[in-house]
Each structure stands twice: as C-alpha cells, then as structure tokens.
Symmetry: C3
Subunit: 155 residues, 3 copies
C-alpha cells in the first residue's frame, strides 16, 4: 500500500498546509534530499496551533497527540511541496523539540506520537528514521512540539 | 549583482571571522555541501559577542539586530572559509536558537533579522532556505542567538 | 593508527550500544552519509544513563566527563551499526545539547569533553568536525548532554 493509499485507509484528516510564520521556505530540495523547516501542530482550521508546555499544562498523552498533529501538519506540507507523498524514499532524520518544565524528562515518549504516525503511513522501514528528542523551555507561539525533518526522495 | 557586489552596495561591515570557541572546525565541506558550525553575534572588535535574553533584558527589535549580527558573522566566516561568497549556490537549512524567558514566544520574528539579511545579500531565491526557530533558556557566553547553517556550493 | 587500533592503545572501555529509548532507528545511512540519532551518556551497565544539570548539580568537569561518555556511547553505537569504526571518513557535524540552569554559559567547554575524545580516536583531521553547542533547560531522563552527529563514510 502506498502512503497516499494508507492515508485513505486510516481515514486521516490532514490540516491545511501551514502558512509561513516568518522569512523562510517550507522546504529546500538539494539533489534528492529534502530539508523541511520546523513545523508545529496546526489545527484543522489552518490558522491556529495547539499550545502548551509539558509538565505544566499538558499531560504526556496530550503531548503525544500534539506530536501526532505535528506529523499530520508535516504530511500536509510534504504533499503540498512534493505533490505526492509517494515520492518519499526514506524519512532520514527528525529533530524534535518539546516545550517542557525543568523537571519534565519524557520527551521521547511525547515525540513517539509523531514517529508512530509516520511508521503507520510510510511503514516502519521507510517512515521511522534517526531522531533526536530535546527538551526546551519555550517554543514559538507557545506550541508544545516543533519538528524538522530530512527526507530522501525517490530519484 | 553577486553577493560580494551586494555587500559593497549595501555598505555592510562584516566583523572579523570569529575565533574558535572550542574544539571544532568552523565548517566541514562534504562534496558540495558545507556544514557551518553554530555562530553567535560577534561585534566589530572581533573578540566580544552581543549578550542578552529575549523577554528579560532584550526587546524583539534588539533580538532582530542580534540575529542580523549573527548573519554578518556567518558571512565573515563563509568568506574566510570559502574565499568568496559568490560560491554559494543555495542557503539550504538554518537552525536558529533564541535565548528566551519561559513566556517569550516570538522566536521567528527575532530570527527574521538574520533571514532578511541573507535574502538581501544572496537574493530571496538563494538566500532564504528552510529554517527552524527554537527557544532555549540559555546559550554559550549568554549570547541571545546562535545559528548553524547548511549551504550548497557551486560545484 | 586506525580508530580501532587507537581504542585499544587508549585502553578505552566502550559501554554496550544503547537500547532504543523510543520509536526511531539508531542510524540512517543515506548514500555515504550516516545520520546518528541523539545519544546520551550510557554507563557501563548498558542500562543506566548519567544524570544532572550544569549549574545545578554538576560541575563543568563533571559535565565534560558526561560529554566524553556520550562520545564513548556514540562510538559503541557506530561500531554496532557500521561493524567497524575504520569506515569513518569524516565526522561532519555534531549538534550537542547541554542541560543547564539559566545562568550557565559554558556549554562549549562541556562539549569539548566529547570533541577531544573524537579528536584522539579518529585524529584531529577526521574526528573534529563542525559543531553547535546549545543550552537547554531539560533533556530526556535528566541526562546532562545529548549529541547527534552526521558522519561521512568511506565509499
């Protein structure tokens, strides 16, 4: 099953591809390597982001849902930029930041919400890449999770 | 107009290429892809960095000026390492960290000070790449902004 | 002397290659470029990570020892994934996060503990690459240092 077929089978609703939040491009493709900018959890209205900080006003489960929403937002952005998710050969490397209080240490569990979605859509071999999960005290617009990703495309 | 001509036309003053602040190299070039180390806002004396934290002792406007100064420092480093800014084919991906209080959320606006400079020097097509803007509670030497960048060179 | 010979000569003890701490792969190799996931300072029992925050309950010297331990953990992971450290052509870019209080500014000195180890094992030319050292308020499992690295392999 292709990623595009999988999205239909899973009945996933992608939010609109997010508008730019600053002076940057959503993706730069260098050869067959696509560098996607940091994305947040865009809601289905296409304007509002989920907000919160882990350990303060968000549980691990809510954080996982936010990380999954970042994944859906990235899928929307990939489809808009690439035309088609089936062009993805490999999710290479994801760098994920989780807004956290000083004593919150479960960033990997939170980011799994994103990684598991990508594993389902692309399959574990293609969809699960290398990853770093990092805590931080604050993110743009008070979003709980921001993820950037390097993707290898079919040549 | 080439980037080098643009620097003259804009009457830009680049600080000296910064001395190393630890055990690393300013850039590694792998094929035609150049990975530049994290840079801070070096002042024109070539020794002192701008300092501050957004939301604490620095306004958004001051943060933008610091981000622009990081851009000037990166240009100095690129010229020193590459010989010539005209070798830049594409600014691929920038990862920008902004030292912030817990309730400061305008990291993208701050980092725009860097991105707008690169857009002017290299032109929007080449100079504006993919980007992530991340908050953090502290950076080396109390600098307000640190940026690393991946650059594609003319082969 | 090859890196594998150097490890013997330096009498280095590598910890076991770390188990996965979430939904990701330890490395993705894209062409001859290997992207290693963020690693922490695994202790020799292969289960426990060093913990602490710089400026709070850890000195710079202890942070350097932790950064060196991240380096040993990365070497264990590289050997497990690549079969042999002699396949490394160049350490390209390291991104290092140091768990820090708001007023701790010596992240580069801490990360040097990692960079100096790699300089010894691989030699300064190959082992010391581009680098960013970033502070953050918290890391997974309360580890003091997390480092991800891009490595160019012999083709």
């Amino acid at each position: 099953m292709t990623p595009e077929e999988k999205i239909v089978e899973m009945s996933l609703t992608l939010p609109p591809a997010p508008p730019l939040g600053g002076v940057y491009k959503p993706v730069i493709i260098n050869g067959t390597t696509a560098y996607f900018s940091g994305h947040g959890p865009m809601t289905d209205d296409g304007k509002t982001y989920m907000t919160g900080r882990l350990g303060h006003d968000m549980t691990v489960e809510e954080g996982q849902a936010a990380a999954r929403q970042v994944g859906l937002t990235l899928l929307a952005s990939m489809r808009a930029q690439l035309g088609n998710l089936n062009r993805v050969k490999q999710i290479v490397k994801s760098l994920a930041f989780v807004s956290s209080t000083d004593d919150f240490y479960d960033q990997p569990q939170v980011v799994n919400g994103y990684s598991e979605l990508f594993g389902e859509v692309f399959g574990a071999e293609i969809g699960i890449g290398a990853r770093s999960a990092i805590g931080t005290n604050t993110l743009p617009g008070n979003i709980p999770v921001e993820i950037e990703v390097i993707v290898e495309l079919i040549g």
